[in-house]
């Protein structure tokens, strides 16, 4: 009886059946299409080795905001910027630069940043307010990346005189300084070693372009890749600015855990002393 009933249902309501089938097919196609499409995006998205123009928002926010219009590329007087093509292995259509061939020359007026219509390149990240509260662009605030130096291939570290990167650096003596040490191998010469300082380095890559070794021994990496991060709890007692962080800490800072309710001696000896 049951099957007969069902058969009649099917015969009398073919529209409903067709509608449900079509809806299911539509949903299935949308899910499949969405998966492929989403896959294409997630595959291309993590591009940690991309250097953005000055003032770029953090990478994830940058990707959400950039409309790929290329106005920054157009604005760059040195043609340093390019929009990523599919074969560049970077998010397609987004601007980037390759310092070894085309570094950022740190224009004073930073034409690429005001050209951005979406704020993906944010003036506030490369500007500071003057006494009238107006934003004044300062390219030295740019943090496009950080120069990293390979001591093993840098010829200056072997005692050969070279200061190409030091001389090329637009923030000379702040972003790259030269440290003199005795050349222990010869015993009578000096080593003039370039050292990068992350607080002043803009990541422009002029050092990378200037480097004389076959493959650059000093090169720019995105800051989040190049830099470590130490825990908040380490305070350099010999550094007055770092000591400041202790000022607001309350007097009583002892940590209380179940384990610390006993004294350490009691706790460590509890199995020995009955």
């Amino acid at each position: 009886m049951g099957t007969k009933h069902n058969q009649r249902d099917e015969l009398t309501m073919p529209e409903r059946r067709e509608f449900l089938l079509k809806a299911a097919r539509g949903l299935g196609l949308a899910a499949a299409g969405g998966l492929v499409w989403g896959g294409l995006i997630t595959e291309g998205r993590p591009a940690p080795f991309v250097l953005r123009p000055p003032g770029a928002l953090p990478e994830q926010q940058f990707l959400a905001a950039c409309l790929k219009c290329g106005k920054c590329v157009e604005a760059c007087p040195y043609d340093a910027l390019d929009l990523a093509k599919p074969e560049d292995n970077k998010p397609i259509g987004t601007p980037y630069f390759v310092p070894r061939t085309h570094p950022c020359y740190l224009c004073k007026d930073i034409p690429c940043v005001p050209a951005c219509p979406t704020g993906a390149l944010d003036k506030k990240l490369v500007g500071e307010e003057d006494e009238n509260g107006e934003l004044v662009l300062n390219i030295n605030l740019a943090k496009m990346g950080l120069a990293v130096l390979d001591r093993e291939t840098c010829i200056a570290y072997s005692g050969i005189q070279c200061d190409a990167c030091y001389r090329a650096c637009p923030v000379i003596d702040k972003a790259i300084s030269v440290e003199y040490t005795r050349n222990a191998r010869t015993g009578k010469h000096a080593i003039l070693a370039p050292v990068v300082h992350s607080d002043s380095c803009t990541g422009c890559g002029l050092c990378e372009k200037a480097c004389v070794t076959k493959k650059a021994s000093i090169f720019v990496l995105p800051r989040e890749i190049a830099m470590g991060k130490s825990s908040e709890r380490y305070i350099k007692g010999w550094d007055i600015r770092d000591e400041e962080r202790l000022r607001d800490v309350p007097e009583e800072t002892t940590t209380r855990t179940p384990r610390s309710s006993k004294s350490p001696v009691d706790y460590l000896n509890e199995d020995i002393i009955p």
């Binding site: 499409w37 989403g38 990707l63 905001a65 409309l67 219009c69 290329g70 929009l83 074969e87 704020g119």
Partner: protein, 273 residues
């Protein structure tokens, strides 16, 4: 020549706009800078793709006022004129899909390749999918894979392998679905269909001049919009009409012409009155 007057005009605007963008990048001309995603006109008026801005917004970006103002200007322009004027008079992919359509016809692939058919409203679902994926993945989803973007960026800033996206569209239209990309899939076209629903520019039809030769339906890439042909005089009201004017050109009876939406109830021919 008269049979191609709008086609020639359209190719002129399509290539002209791309040319101005190209000169903006290559020679520093200031008429148009940027590309079809976002631009400035004479360094003053911001312009941007409203659908891209919607996706970007959905991806969680706080969009600066230039891009918002640009999106509003473009949106109002096409909402007023007729949304899909973009598709046939500006978008460079139109040239590719028209070539595919022409090749399909010349090679007589229409009758041979009828095995694939998809619905015209797929594009609206793809709009929804674009916005949902943008929200989930934090990037403007359609812009990530858009052959339109690949093409105008390629022409203005250099193609690389971006031409593959364009070839894909060509092959899809040639071998898979007739008028497949522009007529079924493209969410930007769908977006402008919705935006231009109440636009002014319309195709007007005069039943009393029409001899029902059906040449217009044959040439039309969105043939469902010409449902009034052979039935009643009036204007094409569907937002899906791209206002390309091909139907007007092929008509031997002068039964079709560009008109405005207000004339939809006005008889186009004196004979009718």
């Amino acid at each position: 020549m008269n049979k191609y007057r709008y086609l020639i005009l359209r190719r002129a605007t399509q290539t002209g706009i791309l040319f101005l963008f190209f000169t903006g990048n290559a020679f520093g001309w200031s008429i148009l800078r940027g590309n079809l995603s976002a631009a400035t006109f004479i360094d003053v008026v911001p312009l941007s793709d409203p659908f891209a801005v919607v996706q970007s917004f959905s991806a969680g970006a706080s969009i600066a006022k230039d891009a918002l103002a640009g999106a509003l200007i473009i949106f109002l322009f096409y909402a007023l004129i007729g949304g899909r004027v973009f598709c046939s008079w500006v978008c460079p992919v139109n040239m590719v899909t028209d070539l595919a359509g022409w090749s399909r016809k010349t090679l007589r692939l229409d009758s041979a390749l009828k095995f694939w058919d998809i619905r015209r409203d797929v594009r609206y679902w793809i709009i929804a999918l674009s916005i949902a994926l943008s929200a989930m993945l934090g990037v403007a989803a359609f812009e990530w894979v858009s052959p339109i973007g690949a093409m105008h960026r390629g022409i203005i800033y250099g193609f690389g392998f971006g031409w593959m996206f364009v070839l894909l569209v060509f092959l899809f239209d040639l071998l898979a679905v007739k008028n497949g990309f522009c007529g079924h899939v493209c969410p930007l076209g769908g977006f402008y269909s919705l935006a231009g629903r109440f636009g002014i520019l319309r195709i007007g039809y005069d039943k009393y001049k029409c001899t029902s030769c059906m040449k217009c339906l044959e040439i039309c890439p969105e043939r469902q919009v010409l449902d009034i042909v052979g039935r009643q005089s009036g204007a094409v009201l569907s937002g899906a009409c791209i206002n390309c004017g091909r139907c007007i050109e092929v008509c031997d009876d002068d039964a079709l012409k560009f008109t405005n939406i207000y004339s939809r109830n006005i008889a186009l021919s004196k004979k009718e009155g």
